[in-house]
Every structure is written in structure tokens, then in C-alpha cells.
């Protein structure tokens, strides 16, 4: 396999958990709520998926459990932010610590458990497309689901009634209130759906990508997802591209090493963050204007009266 196709294949494979989490975080942020606890939701999703898959032998039941666990943790975030008026950034970090602690307390029993795992499926026809086929269509089922999820999410955000309400909740909540629509309910849904997607991302990590559960196995990929959302300005297609960019940067090092080249991984690791920062600088004002008003209020809210 050529270096380029190997890195891109690895980029998709390794970027998928980030992709799910970042898509979820986009939904949450569209509704005006940033969730730094995404990493925690991924951990909960990874453990729940692995545990349920191990107990039941059913992979899709595992994925569902991962979604539920990720969603439950983000519900904690939603409650304290939306109903108790706590600061979003601080609460998100707390929720991350909560997820980290709970999963290591209750994950001990599953480190040694054997769970079934998703295997790559070489798709007929699509898989034989030159170049793209082996890169995109020799992946596991959860990767394929994410291919479908991206356009669907785009449609939901930009074309569906719920998407209009979601964006309104994040940007012009007073309009919704004036029309008698409950902003709070929409935001709750956005945060919890976001956490569920992060949970599926965690599930991909445990029952597809690494085939194992270890405590703290997400290793910062939830924070990467938050950065991807900034990079992508909350647009699903750009989120996917950003996730694969991060994934490819991670896949480049082993691909080069296995060909005999030594490399300092950390110069590569910084690239996506620098690119994100540069993109924000170059597109600064425009991006800033695109930021949901509710969210920019969070970022710019006076912290002390």
C-alpha cells in the first residue's frame, strides 16, 4: 500500500472516534452550549459499549449503550449549565473529571473481559473504486455509519425544522421565546444528542479500533474533537475533514516508521492545532460572526461583575 493511501486509510480509521465526538459537539454548540466534557462522554461510551458488547455478545447493543452512557454524562452538563446556571467551561471540565473517575471505578471489571469487535468490511463495487475504494470502503461498519451521519446532520442543521429551531436557540433565542417555543428543551436535546454521539465515538474506539477497554484510553481525543469543531466552524462536512486531518497526522508517524524512517511525532501532532489557530486568525472576523450568538456570549461573558 502506498504511503499516502495508508495514511489516509489510517486517518479515517483513527479519525472516526474524533469525528463522532466532534459532530456531536457541533450540535451542542449550535444550540449555544460548549461541552469540554466531551472527553468524558467518550470514555463513558467506550466503557459502556465494551461492557455491554462483552456481556450480550451483541455489537450494536454495545453501540447503543455507548450512546446512552455518553448522553447521560452530557445530561449532567446540560442540567448544571441550563437549569442551574453554572459556567459552561468550568462545568464541562468537571464533567470530564467525573467521567474519568466513574469509568475507572466501574471499568476495572471489564479490562479483562472479551468482547466481540467490529471488523473491516470490504464493500462490493464501492471498494473497487480506484484510489478511494481501499481508503474509504474497507473500513468497519461504524465508519460507514459516520459517512451517512455527516450529510444527514448537515441536512438536519440547515434544512430541517428542528435545525432551524436549534440554530435559533443558539443564535436568537429571544425569537423562539417570543414565539412561545421552549428554548431550554431544544438546548437540552442538543447537549444530550451531542453527548450520545461522543459516546458512539468512544464506542468506536473500544469495540472497533482498539478492541479493548483501558481506563483513560481516550487519551485527549475528546479535547481534539473540541478543537476540530473550532477548526470546522460547526459545519458537519468540515468537521469530518478536520477529524480525518487529525487522524492522518496521527497515522503518519507509524506509517513512516514502519518504512524505516524515524520521526518526532510531536512536531506532527502540533500541526492540526497550528492550522486551526491560523485558520481562525485568517478567517477571524468572519468566523467570529458565524459563531452562534449564544455561544459567543459564553465566550465573552463577563466573569466578574
Amino acid at each position: 500500500m502506498s504511503l499516502v493511501s495508508e495514511v489516509l486509510t489510517g486517518g479515517i480509521r483513527g479519525g472516526t472516534s474524533i469525528n463522532y465526538a466532534a459532530l456531536g459537539e457541533s450540535v451542542s454548540e449550535r444550540g449555544g452550549v460548549i461541552n469540554l466534557g466531551t472527553e468524558g462522554s467518550m470514555l463513558c461510551g467506550a466503557l459502556a459499549a465494551y461492557a455491554v458488547a462483552a456481556e450480550s455478545g451483541n455489537l450494536w447493543l454495545g453501540v447503543a449503550a455507548g450512546a446512552v452512557a455518553g448522553g447521560l454524562l452530557s445530561l449532567v452538563h446540560a442540567y448544571f449549565v441550563l437549569s442551574r446556571g453554572a459556567n459552561q467551561l468550568a462545568t464541562g471540565l468537571v464533567v470530564l473529571f467525573l467521567g474519568l473517575g466513574l469509568t475507572s471505578m466501574f471499568g476495572v471489571d471489564y479490562v479483562q473481559a472479551l468482547a466481540p469487535t467490529f471488523k473491516p468490511i470490504d464493500l462490493p463495487i464501492l471498494g473497487s473504486i480506484p484510489l478511494i475504494g481501499p481508503i474509504m470502503f474497507d473500513q468497519d461498519a461504524l465508519v460507514y455509519v459516520s459517512y451517512v451521519l455527516v450529510p444527514v446532520l448537515w441536512w438536519v442543521i440547515y434544512r430541517s425544522r428542528w435545525g432551524v429551531l436549534l440554530r435559533a436557540a443558539g443564535e436568537r433565542s429571544e425569537v423562539l421565546t417570543a414565539n412561545g417555543i421552549g428554548v431550554l428543551r431544544i438546548q437540552y436535546i442538543a447537549v444530550v444528542v451531542g453527548g450520545m454521539m461522543a459516546g458512539v465515538g468512544g464506542a468506536h474506539l473500544s469495540i472497533a479500533y482498539t478492541k479493548a477497554w483501558f481506563e483513560n484510553m481516550v487519551q485527549g481525543r475528546g479535547f481534539v474533537a473540541v478543537a476540530v469543531v473550532m477548526f470546522a466552524a460547526r459545519q458537519p462536512f468540515k468537521v469530518a475533514a478536520g477529524a480525518y486531518l487529525f487522524g492522518s497526522a496521527l497515522a503518519l508517524s507509524p506509517a513512516l516508521q514502519s518504512r524505516g524512517y524515524g520521526i518526532n511525532q510531536f512536531a506532527l501532532d502540533a500541526v492540526p492545532y497550528v492550522v486551526t489557530l491560523l485558520a481562525l486568525i485568517l478567517l477571524g472576523r468572519r468566523r467570529a460572526n458565524e459563531t452562534p450568538e449564544g455561544l459567543s456570549k459564553v465566550f465573552d461573558a463577563p466573569t466578574v461583575a
Binding site: V33, G85, A86, T91, L100, V183, F266, T303, A305
Partner: protein
Amino acid sequence: MTVVTQDGSFDRVADAGAASPSLAERLDRLTGVARVLAAFLAALVLFGLVMMLKGVNPLTAYVDMVSSTFSSWDSVGDILVRSTPIMLAGLAVTVPARAGLINVGGEGQLIIGAVTAYGMSMMVDGRLAGGLTLVLMVIAAALGGAVWSGLAAVLKQVVGISESVTTLLMNYIALDLMYFLIYDRWKDTAGSGQPTTEALPISERLPLVGLGRLHGGIFLAIGATVLISIVFAVTTWGFRLKVVGGNTEAARRSGLKVGLLLLSAMAVGGALAGIGGLTQLAGAEFKLRPGFVAGYGYIGFLASWLGRHRPVYVVLSAALLSTIVVGGDSLQIDSGLPAASVNVLMALLLLMVFGFGRKKVTA
């Protein structure tokens, strides 16, 4: 909308600092304290239930935790060693917060401070007296942290990107920068292959103060707290930051140099975190290594919120959170719970205080 307007309320008490507080304000403060204590208690009860799920007797666990965490003066020293960089990281959030800025970048600024301090030590390369080098390292750490955080303030002013986004992103860049250096140019080649730098010479380390392993960095943290409190209370700069933080537009119209004030607040914050990184480097670790100050910046961020951005409370909060983390050692050694369990206790405590520690604010 409730999401964003919650932050304006809690400094009412502090506002009353100049005039003597009215009876109503005193009562309000009292119920505030009572509420916070109730929130603490609720967190302890909740975590007790979680422990019971794991088959651990919560009462025994708590007793063990307290008795072993405070078993000797030296163990108090260990708590303060752990607290020192977190206190400074907390203040690094507090100063910008006064001007309405959210600095999520304490983590990166701690690292950059340690990296620039170590770089200074390498540059001096033993040609100056150790104490002098140490002073230069403190300055380098402060400048490094200030530049790193100041960039976020500049980008906010010039390009309009939120400082909370840029500071968060720059945390990763700082971490990768440190990793790059310790795996590459700065790696101790005479070492055992681990990615660490050489240890600082003894003369360039913060001296011990006679309480176990506690080092002089604690005086930097306490000194900074006192200084910031005074600056907030009596200087025009401190006052102006508050004006900007209260209403930027009004501040601008009244002729304040808002850009400069925001930049200086952010830079001072970064400098504090940078010094925090130095204290860990020159006081406890002596080397840059993987995992250096990992998470300390985020815990400092939470300490600043827990202390409601008031310097003395922030530093006490940092000490409290550090004590809990240190108490986590007992949870696993005495009670057999996984090491990370203590995160649950810390998270529950913070959630209870953030959510119920004061009356819910509605817009």
C-alpha cells in the same frame, strides 16, 4: 437566557468591601457560606453512595482519608507542594477574569513557563551563580507565560477570536512543543532513554523550607496572592480592570484604553501561570518530563471558579482541590479503590458548589 448571564452576581459581596456591609449583606454572606457547606456535604454523601456501590464503607474511607492526609507536618508539606503550581494557575485565571476574560490556557502557560525557565538555565549554562540564575529563570518563566497568554489577548483585539478558544488551542501547542523538545533537542542523552531533560543543577533549584519536601515556590504563590489582592483593592489598574470587566463598551466610551487593559490582564495572568510552571520545575520535578503538570492548569481553572475569582479564595480553593487529590492516595492505598476514583469526589464537590452553592441566577 440563563446560560450566559449567570456570572454577574457573585461579586456583590466583594463590592461591599469599601463600605461596611449592611445587615442584609452580612446575612446574604452567611447563607452563602451555609449553602456552600451544604453543597460540600451533599457531595460527600453522594460519593459515599458511589463508594458503597463498590463495596467500600464510606465512613472508614473518609476517616482514613483525613487521618492519613494530615498524618504529619510533612504530609501537609506534600499537599502544599502539589498546591503551589495550581494556586498560581488559579490566579492566572483570576486576573483576566476581573477584566471579563476567560483564560482556559493555564495548562499551556504552566508548561511554557517551565520550558522558558529551563531554556534560561540552559542558556546560562552554569556561568552565573545559582541564585541569580534562578531569578533569571523566574523572569523567563513569567515572560514566557505572559507572551503565550498575551497572544490570545492580541488575537481577541485584532482579529476578534475569543480568548477562551485560542488559549485552549494553545494548550495543545505548548504540550507538543515541550514533548518535541524533550524527545529531541533537550533530551538527556546521558539518561536512560526516557524522554526527559537533564535535571537542573542543585544550585538552581528552589530551596526547601523545612516542611518535608515543601520548597520556596509556596512563597511565590503566597506572595502573588497578597500582591494581586492589594493590586485589586487599591491600584487604579485593578479598578480599571473591573470597569472593563463590568462593561467594556462603557469603559471604552469613558476613555479607558481597553485594549491595553485586556492585554495587561491576560499577560499578568500568563506570567503567574508561567511562574507556576517554574515552581514545579525548580521545586519538585527538576526535569521536564512527559506528564509534567498534566491537568494542573485545568484544576487551577476550576479553583478560580470555585473561589469565585477572588484571589484569597482562589488560592484556598486550589489548596482544597489539591488536598482532595492527595487524599485520593488514601482512597486507593487504604480503601482499595482505583486511583482515579478521587476525580469523582472532586467533580461531585465542584458540581454541587457550582450548581447549588448560591441561589440560581435567572435572567
